[in-house]
């Protein structure tokens, strides 16, 4: 059976060009870039080149701003904990209620350690409450850590505006953004519109590089202490022998993403829009989460009321379609999506949410196939649902009441 992969916000396939660029460094060029002999120099040179290219794609001329890490989670931990460590006199952090756990849980852990953390809320479309953000900025504020694009809904936060407001209030507040979902999709110019951002995290495996490589942009002079301490690598700012092949892979993947960015994003957006429109037409009682906010071109988070997400994913998977859900049963923690809950999406819809996230490798046929099978999957599950009136094809009048009874 052909696999239709529509879960690219979880991870992506490795581009063949990326794989090929990595092979020499997985085979004959295995040297430690810190060593002195000639072959090792070529490995060190390749890293320097890769660093320069990656910096360039972010509008940065001085490659020293870019550190390589093992993943975006490490980058986020390094950014937040490193900033806290370097600025012991301030103990207030501003973040949002819809961050990825790699930020949210770090902030909560600092909260347990006595830090004050403000979680800025979002509205029903997932837009950030800018007024609440402005009010939260204070003289005690150590840092702001706010994601660029949401992994579940694709909603994009106005990082340019938020970082500007932060720096205009107090230049010593450190501004961090988790740009894991946006790098390679949205053009980010860290010397232009994003010049107020001090720290920016991302990883390779969301843009067709392998898992196990991440990066952290640290603007010169940002007070952020190293997270990994040891050798002199990365000038002592992130110790540990460089992951040469993966660094090369990341640079290649970024080059691929940025070279045809506009064309590629248009292709992806067209596919997503067609999928969205067709599902909205063919299925009753659905809503697209984040529809009223600026969104990534590749993400469709759709809620089918009164159906459970896992059941949908299971049937999709029987058709070879890979997607994910914000339902409690799929999360591993038995908690429904904190992102959709923060958007005040009712439980009936949170549990019935499915996320399709596309990439450059998706085709019109993929979309046709999803449109063909998904409405029937929903219909099948609704037939089983105690909340659904199958004759009228609408929720039973007492559905809300029943739900409340079951909690």
């Amino acid at each position: 059976m052909r696999i239709i992969y529509a879960d690219n916000n979880a991870t992506t396939r490795i581009a063949s060009e990326v794989y090929e660029a990595m092979v020499p460094f997985l085979t004959e060029n295995y040297f430690n870039p810190s060593s002195m002999y000639e072959p090792a120099r070529s490995a060190a040179g390749a890293i320097a080149q890769a660093r320069k290219k990656i910096a360039g794609h972010l509008g940065v001329t001085d490659a020293k701003h870019i550190l390589f890490t093992s993943c975006a989670t490490e980058s986020n931990n390094a950014a937040i904990l490193g900033t806290a460590k370097a600025n012991a006199n301030r103990r207030h952090i501003i973040t949002t209620s819809v961050e990825h756990p790699a930020v949210l849980e770090v902030c909560k852990d600092l909260q347990r350690g006595g830090y004050k953390v403000t979680f800025i809320p979002v509205d029903g479309d997932g837009n950030l409450d800018i007024r609440a953000f402005v009010r939260a900025l204070g003289s005690e504020t150590l840092m702001v850590t706010i994601m660029h694009a949401n992994n579940e809904t694709g909603v994009i936060f106005p990082i340019e505006q938020l970082s500007r407001l932060t720096k205009q209030t107090d230049p010593s507040i450190v501004f961090h953004t988790d740009a894991t979902q946006s790098v390679g999709k949205i053009t980010i110019d860290l010397m232009g519109d994003y010049r107020h951002v001090d720290l920016l995290s991302f990883s390779g495996h969301k843009l067709h590089a392998p898992k196990g490589i991440g990066a952290l942009f640290i603007r010169r002079g940002t007070p952020c202490r190293p997270f990994m301490i040891g050798g002199h690598q990365e000038e002592g700012r992130r110790a540990g022998t460089e992951n040469v092949p993966y660094i090369i892979g990341l640079a290649k993947a970024m080059a691929l993403a940025m070279e045809n960015n506009e064309e590629e994003q248009t292709h992806i957006r067209n596919l997503r829009d067609r999928l969205e429109k067709s599902l909205e037409e063919k299925i009753t009682c659905v809503n697209v989460n984040g529809k009223g906010a600026p969104r990534l071109a590749n993400t469709l988070n759709i809620s089918c009321h009164y159906v459970e997400g896992e059941g949908m994913l299971y049937q999709l998977s029987a058709h070879g379609i890979c997607a994910s859900s914000g339902s409690a049963c799929t999360s591993g923690s038995l908690e429904p999506s904190h992102v959709l809950r923060a958007m005040n999406i009712p439980f009936t819809a949170v549990h019935g949410s499915v996320r399709f996230s596309l990439s450059r490798y998706n085709t019109e046929e993929d979309i046709d196939r999803i449109i063909e099978v998904f409405p029937e999957i929903v219909a099948n599950l609704r037939k089983l649902s105690p909340y659904w009136d199958n004759e009228k094809n609408m929720p039973r009048p007492d559905a809300e009441h029943l739900l409340q009874g079951t909690g």
């Binding site: 060593s35 007024r131 204070g138 407001l165 007070p223 190293p226 000038e235």
Partner: protein
């Protein structure tokens, strides 16, 4: 990190190691000047010797005719030693003239050195200085009276904290105390440390750590900005935050909003923090390309004039 040496550096190193004719490895027996310099930071040390053609009557007119070095060190240290000897012999200098050779000349001769290796060129210049000093003693030349400051570049040895400028921990500690430096920008401005790649700012044992350690005994006291505190005290009783906010709002309602409303726009105060007033333009103003200018010119100027000159308007 593997070092990126120039072709010239690598060639000089290879020539010296293989004892090619014309290279200067060795030690002159019974030299006219001998100088040593070692840097713990790089694990290298140099012994530099030279012979002069003695002037029959005036020792200051002695001319260096031969120079040799023994260097324990890395590629660039040996290449820098070669460079030093070549420069001296080519120049036909007197010892005092030779002092004009700075580490920059050595770097230039080597067609560049990696930032982290600049201190290797400094070592050559330092060894030369001490050899000239030795020659002066032997020949009874009073350098001080000739106006030659032999210790101009004196610097304590120790762990290098700022690699870009090759500044050691003991040196930084002394300067931080001497000059009463309290912040990283102050250090950078005063002695350049941390002004290059900036990676020494917040690493373990970096500039911030030195500052914290040196000043930890004292309570953190940021010097007040000149004039700021004095000014506030001299004026009449300042407004409470509540009174301040009220006055800003009143000014908005009386002067600013009517003007904006005439053009179909409006302004909302999102927040007030001390002298920062956060505003959001609404209606016709919100989409206006000149919104930022409107806020700055009209709203801010009005608030400054009516309420407080410190006010800064921030567009939300």
């Amino acid at each position: 990190m593997a070092w990126e040496y120039s072709e010239r550096t690598r060639q000089l190193f290879m020539d010296a190691v293989h004892g090619k004719p014309g290279t200067h490895l060795g030690e002159i027996e019974d030299p006219d000047g001998i100088g040593e310099h070692g840097s713990m930071a790089c694990g290298d040390a140099m012994r530099f010797t030279f012979r002069v053609k003695r002037h029959p009557s005036d020792p200051t007119k002695d001319v260096i005719v031969e120079s040799r070095y023994l260097t324990f060190g890395c590629t660039s240290a040996i290449a820098a030693s070669e460079a030093l000897c070549t420069l001296i012999e080519q120049g036909g200098y007197t010892p005092i003239e030779a002092l004009k050779i700075r580490n920059g000349d050595i770097v230039k001769f080597l067609e560049g050195l990696p930032e982290q290796k600049i201190h290797c060129s400094v070592m050559g210049a330092e060894a030369l200085e001490s050899a000239v000093f030795n020659w002066a003693q032997k020949r009874g030349v009073d350098l001080e009276r000739l106006g030659v400051d032999i210790h101009a570049d004196e610097q304590e040895e120790g762990r290098i904290v700022c690699e870009c400028f090759s500044l050691s921990e003991p040196y930084l500690r002394r300067k931080i105390k001497e000059l009463n430096l309290r912040t990283i920008p102050q250090i950078t401005n005063a002695i350049k440390a941390g002004g290059g790649c900036m990676s020494c700012h917040h690493v373990p044992g970096g500039l911030q750590d030195l500052l914290d350690e040196i000043w930890s005994g004292e309570t953190k006291q940021v010097a007040p900005e000149p004039g700021k505190a004095a000014k506030g005290a001299a004026k009449e009783e300042p407004l409470s935050p509540y009174q301040f906010a009220k006055k800003v709002e009143k000014t908005m309602d009386e002067y600013i909003r009517p003007m904006l409303q005439r053009d179909g726009g409006d302004v909302e105060i999102v927040d007030i923090k001390e002298a920062l007033v956060y505003c959001r333009l609404k209606g016709a103003c919100a989409g206006c390309a000149g919104a930022a200018v409107t806020l700055k010119m009209m709203v801010e100027t009005t608030l400054k004039n009516v309420v407080d000159e410190r006010i800064r308007v921030i567009q939300v």
